[in-house]
Amino acid sequence: MASNQQHRVRRRLLALAHFIGLAIAMIIILLPGFWIVLSSLRPTVEIMAKPAIWIPQDLSLDAYTAMFGKVGQGGIPVWFYFRNSLIISVASTAIAIAVGMAGGYAFARFRFKGKSGLFLGFMLTRTVPGIALSLPLFIIFARIGIIDTHFGLILAYVALNVPFTIWLIDGFFRQVPKDLAEAAQIDGCTRWQAFWQVEFPLAGPGIASAGIFAFLTAWNEFALASQLTRSVNSKTLPVGLLDYTSEFTIDWRGMCALAVVMIVPALTLTFLVQKHLVSGLTSGAVKG
C-alpha cells in the first residue's frame, strides 16, 4: 500500500512540474506579443525610460486614434495598406493553393520522368533567402514596369509559396489511400468527381493549413515588399511600419499600435481555421 501511495504522489508532482514547465514556456513565447500590445498603449517616455518602468503608469489609446487621424497629426494611410495587404495576401494564397493542389496531387499520385529531381528543385528554391532575390527582382520588375503594383507582389509571393504548398499538400494526398479514389470510380465517379467528392475533402485539413501558411507568409513579408512597393498603390502593412521612422526619431508607440492592427486579422483567421485542421480524418478508411 505504501508503495502505491508513493507512486500516486510522484505522479501528481510530475504533473505539476509539467504544468509549471509549460507555463514558463508559454510566458516566454507570449511575452513579446504582450509587450507590443502594452507599448502601443504607453507614452514614448515610458517606453524609452531607463531604468525600465515595468508597471505601466499611463495607458491610453492615443496612438490608435492618431493612426487613423489626419496626415500631419500622426495619421498614416492604414486603410490603403490594409486593402493592399488583403488583396495581395488573398490573391497570392488562392493561386498558391490552386497550383499547390494540382502539383501536390500530381506528385502524390502519378509517376513521371524526373519526378524526384523536380521535387528536389522545388525544395531547393526554399533555401534561397528572399532578401537575396530582392535586388534582381527589383531590376526585372522595374524593367517590365510592375514595381508598385499588386500584380508584382502577388507574383513574387506565389513564387515564394508554391514550392511550400506543393510539398505540404503532397504529404496530405499521400495519406489518402489510393483505394478510395478507385472505389469512387467504381461507384460511378469520373476521376474528376472522385477527386472532389473523396480525395479533396479528406486532404482538406492539409490544404487549409497550407493556405494559412501561405497567407501568413504574404501578410507578414517585409523584405521583398519594402523593395517592390513605392506608394499607397501597393504598400502593405509591414512596409507601412516604416512610416513611423523619420530621420531622427522612431515613434515606437505608433509602430507597436500598427503592429497590433496587423496581428489582429491574422490571429482571427488562424483561430477560425485551426479547428478545421484536425488531422486523422482518414482513420477508418482502410484496415482496422
Binding site: 489511400p177 478510395l180 472505389a183 470510380q185 467504381i186 484496415k287
Partner: protein, 368 residues
C-alpha cells in the same frame, strides 16, 4: 446479369510482362475464384476486369460487350477491396448510397435500396456511424453493402477477408456464400487462401507467375491436379510431394526406399523417368485409422517411425520418416502416440499422383 470473358489477356509494366495471355470464360451467375501465391497476377487480372488497370493486350468482354477501353463506371461492376476503402468522411448510409447519389437517383429510391442492402447484411443499427467507429467485420459488411446497392452485373472481390481474424473470416465466408445465393450475380473472387477458394467457388482458377495452371471445380482441382504446383497449392496440410525415379515397376526414392507403381500409371511412364510422387495426408494413415477410400488392391503397407505429432482433437497429423524426409499423414480416431514409435502405415495408392519432374505435368493421362 452477365458473363465475363477474358481473351488472351496480357498485362505489361514497361518491358515486364506480368500476365501472359490468359483465357477464361465465366458463365452468368457463376462464382469463380482466382487463387495463387502473391505476385501470380490474380489481383492485376481482377483490376483489369474492373478497369483500374489498362489492358496491354487481348480483350475483356462483360455481357458480350468489349470493355477494354471503358472506364470503371461504365462497366456495371462492383468491387470489394482488401482494404474495404470506405469513405471515412461519410456515414455508413452515405457510403452505401454514394454510387446512387452520383448516378443522381431520386432520394426515395436511394433510401429504399440502401435499406434493402442494410437488411440483407444486418447493418441497420450502424447506419449513422462513420467507418472509424466500426470493427473490422462491420467495415467488411459495409463494403459489401456498398457493392450490392448498385445492383451490378458482376461483383469483384479482391482478397476481401484477408484483414480479418480467423474466426471472423470463416463467418464472413459463410455470409458471402449466402449473399451470392441471394443476389445471384456473377462473382470473380481473388484470394490467396485456397480454403476460401474451395469453399466458395463454383470453379477455381489457379494462377502462377502470370499463367493459368488449371481451371476446374473444387473437386476437380483437389482430386485431379493437372500440375505439381496445383497439387502442392490446393489442400491443407499440403500433399506429400517427393522426387523419385521409375524403375522395374516401382517408384524408387533417392535413399533406396520404394513403393509399387500404381497400375493406372503404367502406360504413361517409362523406365528411368524422373517423376514427383504425390500423396495427400488423407491417403496416408496409420493402418486402421484412415479413410481408405480406394480399392483394396492399390494399397501399400509398411512400418514407419513417428517423428512428430500434431493433435487437433478429432484427428492427429502424424509425421512419418520415409524416403529420407517427413511425410504428413492424417490419423482419424486418434490415440496417443510417442515420438520414435514404429507404426503400421497404409499408403492408399489408388489416390496417388505422379508428375513429370521436368514439366511438372500430371501423368495420370486424364484431360484436366
Amino acid at each position: 446479369m452477365a458473363t465475363v470473358s477474358l481473351q488472351k489477356l496480357v498485362k505489361k509494366y514497361g518491358d515486364l510482362e506480368v500476365v501472359h495471355g490468359i483465357d477464361l470464360d465465366i458463365a452468368d451467375r457463376e462464382f469463380v475464384a482466382l487463387v495463387g501465391p502473391s505476385g501470380c497476377g490474380k489481383s492485376t487480372t481482377l483490376r483489369m476486369i474492373a478497369g483500374l488497370e489498362d489492358v496491354s493486350g487481348g480483350s475483356i468482354l462483360i455481357g458480350g460487350k468489349h470493355v477494354n477501353d471503358l472506364p470503371p463506371r461504365e462497366r456495371n461492376i462492383s468491387m470489394v477491396f482488401q482494404s474495404y476503402a470506405l469513405y471515412p468522411h461519410m456515414t455508413v448510409r452515405e457510403n452505401m448510397g454514394f454510387s446512387l447519389k452520383i448516378a443522381k437517383r431520386p432520394q426515395e429510391e436511394i433510401d429504399r435500396r440502401v435499406n434493402e442492402a442494410a437488411q440483407i447484411l444486418s447493418l441497420n443499427e450502424l447506419m449513422d456511424r462513420r467507418p472509424s467507429q466500426l470493427s473490422g467485420g462491420q467495415r467488411q459488411r459495409v463494403a459489401m453493402g456498398r457493392a450490392i446497392v448498385r445492383h451490378p452485373e458482376v461483383f469483384l472481390f479482391d482478397e476481401p477477408l484477408s484483414n480479418l481474424d480467423a474466426k471472423l473470416r470463416s463467418q464472413m465466408r459463410t455470409e458471402i456464400k449466402k449473399l451470392h445465393a441471394k443476389v445471384q450475380a456473377t462473382v470473380v473472387y481473388v484470394t490467396h487462401d485456397q480454403v476460401e477458394a474451395m469453399t466458395l467457388a463454383d470453379r477455381i482458377v489457379i494462377m502462377r507467375d502470370g499463367y493459368v495452371e488449371q481451371v476446374g471445380t473444387p473437386d476437380q482441382v483437389f482430386k485431379h491436379p493437372a500440375t505439381r504446383f496445383v497439387a502442392g497449392f490446393i489442400g491443407s496440410p499440403p500433399m506429400n510431394l517427393v522426387e523419385a525415379t521409375i524403375d522395374a515397376g516401382k517408384v524408387n526414392f533417392a535413399n533406396g526406399d520404394a513403393i509399387p507403381l500404381p497400375a493406372r500409371f503404367k502406360a504413361n511412364v517409362s523406365s528411368g523417368q524422373k517423376v514427383t510422387f504425390g500423396l495427400r495426408p488423407d491417403d496416408l494413415f496409420p493402418t486402421g485409422h484412415g479413410i481408405g477410400s480406394g480399392t483394396t488392391e492399390d494399397v501399400f503397407k509398411c512400418d514407419l517411425k513417428v517423428t512428430i505429432t500434431e493433435p487437433l482433437g478429432n484427428e492427429t497429423l502424424v509425421f512419418f520418416d520415409f524416403a529420407g524426409r517427413d511425410w504428413v499423414s492424417r490419423m482419424l480416431n486418434p490415440r496417443a502416440l510417442s515420438v520414435g514409435e514404429s507404426l503400421g502405415t497404409t499408403f492408399d495408392l489408388s489416390q496417388a499422383h505422379l508428375f513429370d519432374s521436368a514439366s511438372g505435368k500430371s501423368l495420370s493421362g486424364r484431360k484436366a
